[in-house]
């Protein structure tokens, strides 16, 4: 895949350049430190994949996307998870990578990019597999859990407890691992030990959220993201 990088930070560009250079499927055509130069380039050249920083001065990654009639596949890069919600409004976005980008996460994004089809810009539909369940390993069995039934997930030492409407599952894993498997639009990490299903919120107080009859703490750093997700009157 012919790729370009758009990021105002030299370090971020250098890291992506390094990761791309180690990836057989990718060839780097050009790196840009600002969106305007990149738009000029994209108007005259075709590429398969853009690594696009969202947070850039004067012209953001989202501004750039709005100028492109038929954007190629895009992997967003960001230091700020909060922007990811907006990403779902674009059908060209394959994935988003939170900086600092790790090798493992980069590889996953490239795998996704390979099988991702961009639907024409007129369509709002995103053509990708919609997965609505998760399989977890419990006593050597792979148990299917539908995302919609999960109320919350709590970290307990080397284990996580997945609390659903009908049952609780204890699984040997970490919050980080399961967070990567959950659909972003439904789930939110509100505390270092808790991920909640935001559709199951009953109410919110200053530093806590009620999920069913569980009062879950909300850490200060995660509160702004939680508030952003709410349809506030």
């Amino acid at each position: 895949m012919k790729s370009i990088i758009i990021d105002d930070e030299e370090m971020a560009r250098a890291i992506l350049e390094q990761l791309i250079s180690k990836t057989k499927e990718l060839s780097l055509i050009e790196s840009f430190s600002n969106a305007i130069e990149a738009i000029k380039f994209l108007n005259q050249n075709s590429v398969d994949l853009i690594f696009l920083d969202i947070h850039m001065p004067t012209f953001t990654g989202f501004d750039l996307l709005q100028t492109l009639k038929n954007p190629p596949k895009v992997i967003l890069t960001t230091s700020d998870k909060n922007f990811a919600i907006e990403a779902f409004e674009y059908n060209c976005i394959v994935d988003y990578l939170v900086k600092p980008v790790t090798q493992e996460r980069f590889d996953k994004a490239i795998l996704k990019a390979k099988s991702f089809n961009v639907v024409s810009s007129n369509s709002k539909k995103v053509e990708k597999d919609i997965i609505d369940e998760l399989y977890v390993n419990i006593d050597r069995r792979l148990v299917k859990i539908n995302f919609a039934t999960i109320n919350l997930i709590e970290a307990k030492g080397d284990y996580i407890q997945i609390k659903t409407d009908s049952k609780n599952y204890t699984v040997h894993s970490t919050l980080k691992k399961i967070e990567d498997k959950l659909p972003y639009e439904l789930f939110l990490k509100v505390h270092r030990s808790f991920i909640i299903n935001t559709t199951k919120i009953v109410d919110i107080e200053d530093n806590s959220v009620l999920i069913g009859n569980n009062v879950i703490p909300v850490s200060r750093s995660n509160r702004p993201e939680l508030m952003k997700r709410l349809n506030l009157l």
């Binding site: 370090m11 971020a12 250098a14 890291i15 390094q18 600092p100 090798q103 750093s221």
Partner: protein, 106 residues
Amino acid sequence: MIEKPNLNYLKEISGGDVIFEKKMIEIVKKELPEEIKSYENFLNAHNFKQAAEIVHKIKHKISILGLEKSYQTAIDFEEDLKRQELTLQLEFEQILNSMVNFVKDL
């Protein structure tokens, strides 16, 4: 206790490419002092929005130097600055000092 910066992340990404590692260290050495100066200037001028922008830039370097807890502090401080809240200033500046001292010796 303040975390110690390290090159673990850079080494993971470099895959043994010493030239890349060197290049990255040079960028940090060059940019970090400039960014700290801008941060201080904006803070002294009570331009909290711009100070937050600089913290946003520095934040990436904090994570690249393997400072996971400090990265969270920087995220919180960036948000605080947008609300003109300075509770984390001292803690953030200690992180900056530890980074400056670390890269100085590289």
